[in-house]
Symmetry: D2
Subunit: 287 residues, 4 copies
């Protein structure tokens, strides 16, 4: 039942040790763990966002998903809703536009109430050698990943403070140094600042997970997948279902003590200067 | 059913926002998640170790616990076993002694088979201003927390490589700069080096959790608990049950993609120069 | 001779241990260390930028400073030039505007040649509790500190790659979680990527230094200075001259081996739960 | 004049960009910067320790060096002393032995007075795949690098607190995850705790520098040097002289504001999955 449209596309590039680490794809939390809860997921129409929405919905949450392509979020909302039997709403929103974010948040509150869970999952990024990066391209990335996330967080945070209702954030952040660091640090700061209002802020750094969106942008030719996998100790990419289970745990009351934390999926590790020369590993890795 | 002898001693010092974050104390994973698995937990007779053993056992694992006080581990083993209906074994072991570790590991393998889960939880630490710390006191701490953990890991690792059977480690580490940093970093290195043998290495940095052992050593007069809580965004300590749920997740196949990661409970945060002067927070916190 | 207009305004809030750590205010590098070098400093008209420009100029560099207030940079340029006997040029530039950055860089190259040293020091930031932060205020900060720095770096980098001439960057970043993390990480990435073109990228995280600009924005009422100082192990703020000496070292050929590094001034430290209860410090600090 | 016995052995493996980054080998600080100061350097008979001693001595310091091989430290002491004209003393000391450390410190104080500068530079490490690492080998490494450093720091710290005289520590730490993390963190903690006594604690993470000692242990066959260099953005190793200049700066009063900081030499960087595929770098590096 916990299975989405998104397939694990092809993972024939797995390293040999991945046989020790098969993914467990079914829901981990008890049924109805999110009964009565409202979840808002940006970028919920595709990839990881769709996976998390599916799981939260199947565990009882009422979900609201938002992204630019209203058609995509609408189709996904209906598909999930018919699978899980729980309502999923779709709103059109470009998170880069503060005015649109404001409207989306007030529609969200109108149709579903103040959210208990917010997942900042919208992101767009592409790949380019720095010397060919234009000022505009740079701005586009920071606008979505950084400013968009901040706009959503600020607007919902202010509404929740007014309503005096706690809730939580999870933030997904994308591959690459730029946004890998800034968003987590701001979150830790918010955990300290807004903890008193009953809000939790946590971050997942998921490592690479094969979704159509991320991989078409970051590895369009497929040539880097194998090299990425060589750097992952388990020898395989994570799956959408695995990430969704981790996210559901952090969103749940089982994690009500966890605030201001960063949770990592597999990290890229420097796996030694040469894979076959394992004797160099211990001594040079983390320099 | 998932309730242990260890009480949440007294938490009358909770900050006001803790009402938003009540602990969810029941088991999170599906029943029988650890059916057929063998778990080895050092320091499993008390506190966090006892809590994790209780949960793993109640979810089907065959557990082996080991520490210096054979009476304590024996009583705990029987108590848990009678609660859960699953076998729990007790072995006497001082992790500082490589010979004793070797013997313990071979007994472990004899009575229960190669372990699927190893939790390095044994630790002892106490508190002292540095100028009164003697070389001997320093050595005692590093011997247990650092060397003991390494001896257990090396010995079991070697046995598993021989037996060509994957398994996983979780490592708990204690409050304080010394061991907070070194053990995690060595683990990340091992994840890269021994991932190919099917082993996973992950770390939990749990933040403060009220156990009799830890708090009698770190806060004997009880005077620091309140100050600690003031630095935790949720306004309360974590509970043994919450930590056990997190550990069980990381030990389970739901986390088979997670290797070489550090998972944090609540962090102490610099919550602003003065709690009431919230306007300083955002700008000065993370310097 | 190495003394600027900027005074150490008032430091009557110093902690008692600061008597052990008096600042050494004279130039550290040998005379003429920057003879024949061209340095470009954004925000060079005031505060830290003026201090670094003064020192580089007094050590022989030809300097070009740029900021929005052309009057301010002009006056500073003349003042320094008359002190040091070396040419200092002033250009008007708002680093948020990619077009203006492009023109500034081409003027810089025309009047002084390709720069050997670039110091991204322009920044503006202010203080606000997050719940009162507007989307616009957020954007203003990221535009200067983040995007401005990137625009300057991209434009000069591209010109230098074309000209096949190595050079180096230093980046100053401001107090606060937001920009404290993102800019350093992007720089490390650039060091790896553009090292092959002969460029070095290093970061200084200076900790608080009393300049009129920074302190009028971050501590307008003066009430936080004392609290900041309580968190600095030396019990005093850094001085403009001290920062300038550190920057000059990193810009010089004495540091030609240092690339992709972050150099810290004093860090705010968690100095124990209570300053007078030193016994808690060792064990709880870095949680 | 600032030239030691230790040669830059052979650096024919340098990457092409190293031509942009030639080392500047002469003394950076003004003459007599350490006049009247006493410096204590463990492991001062060879490699980096010898280099730092030579520079401090040539800038006026009275130096005391200590290590296990009394012949080696004696010869070095005489050699430096005759070069610089300033007294250098030699003491035999195994830093792993708390009693011997105590005696060494009291001899140091007797012959030269309380030290102003202490450089914890003694270290020994070797290389081995973890599965072949014995408990004893592990203990040997932690005993020197970790415990030895702590013993020296504790003993001198206590003497200085008694004498109410400030001073500073610099700590060198070796290549590899184990000791790379623990010692710096303990130091930051000490900076917060002992700053009030007038002590500064700073760390240098130098990256690889070619000394006979370090390279004979870490790269006995010479096969990894090239691979290391490929990961260093400047395309070459650091030199003993460069490290000595950096250390002298941090020991000097120019750095009296810097306490509790970690200063990095070149870091090993993940320079992209494939050096020639620069387009992957920006996006995957820091994951
Ligand atoms: N997959 C991975 O390996 C990986 C690893 C680390 C982090 N992440 C992060 O996880 C998140 C999801 O990634 P994914 O792999 O699921 O890729 P994806 O399918 O491309 O998801 C991105 C989603 O963001 C939405 N979006 C983009 N720009 C938006 C905007 N301006 N306003 C509102 N919505 C916007 C997109 O919908 P519209 O086009 O309709 O707007 C899309 O649904 C991203 O933040 C990504 O950076 C992914
Ligand atoms: N509670 C917290 O707030 C907290 C926070 C962060 C980390 N931790 C870590 O979590 C772990 C468990 O702590 P706890 O709170 O449960 O305290 P605890 O009840 O005192 O547990 C420590 C256990 O370690 C065992 N042990 C100590 N020295 C040993 C040795 N040389 N060989 C074998 N076993 C040894 C003890 O049993 P014997 O005396 O019988 O040997 C005891 O069962 C520790 O690693 C602690 O540092 C706790
Ligand atoms: N002082 C500290 O404690 C401290 C600590 C950490 C980091 N820093 C950083 O160090 C740098 C210098 O700070 P400071 O203390 O010297 O303060 P400051 O005197 O206010 O310097 C800031 C400079 O940036 C220029 N600037 C601002 N916006 C600009 C823009 N859009 N385009 C071009 N130039 C612009 C300003 O000139 P115009 O107004 O003429 O444009 C001014 O000269 C800043 O990056 C600051 O964040 C300072
Ligand atoms: N070279 C590098 O690339 C590099 C990089 C990072 C960090 N480091 C660190 O920098 C320091 C110096 O390294 P190096 O390259 O100069 O190597 P080195 O020449 O081998 O220096 C090590 C010194 O430590 C002394 N020593 C070893 N064990 C000792 C003990 N138990 N008690 C007292 N002294 C002891 C040795 O003298 P005796 O044999 O006479 O005792 C020797 O003089 C080390 O801490 C090293 O880890 C070096």
């Amino acid at each position: 039942f916990f299975s989405y449209g998104t397939k694990i596309l092809y993972q024939n590039t797995e390293a040999v040790q991945s046989k020790f680490f098969p993914p467990l794809q079914k829901a981990m939390l008890p049924p109805n763990s999110f009964q009565g809860k409202v979840a808002f997921i940006t970028g919920g129409g595709t990839g990881l966002g769709k996976g998390m929405t599916t799981l939260l919905s199947s565990l009882g949450a009422q979900c609201v998903i938002a992204s630019r392509k209203i058609d995509v979020v609408k189709v996904t909302a209906e598909q999930i809703s018919s699978q899980t039997g729980n309502k999923v709403h779709a709103i059109q929103c470009d998170v880069r536009d503060p005015e649109m974010v404001k409207n989306t948040v007030s529609e969200l509150i109108k149709i579903a109430g103040h959210p208990d869970i917010v997942i900042n999952n919208a992101a767009g990024n592409f790949i380019s050698p720095t010397e060919r990066l234009s000022p505009n391209a740079w701005k586009t990335i920071t606008d979505i990943v950084l400013n968009g996330t901040v706009f959503v967080t600020l607007e919902i945070g202010k509404q929740l403070i007014k309503a005096q209702k706690g809730m939580l954030f999870i933030l997904h952040i994308f591959i690459g140094p730029m946004c890998y660091f800034i968003v987590p640090q701001s979150l830790l700061s918010l955990a300290a600042e807004w903890g008193k209002y009953g809000m939790r802020f946590n971050v997942i750094q998921p490592g690479p997970i094969k979704t159509k969106g991320a991989f078409s942008r970051l590895d369009p030719t497929g040539e880097f997948e194998k090299e990425m996998i060589d750097r992952i100790p388990c020898g395989r990419l994570g799956t959408v279902e695995e990430l969704a289970n981790l996210a559901a745990f952090l969103c749940s009351d089982y994690a009500s003590w966890i605030n201001g934390a960063v949770t990592q999926g597999p990290k890229f590790l420097l796996s030694g200067l040469h894979p076959e020369k394992s004797k160099t590993k211990t001594n040079l890795d983390s320099q």
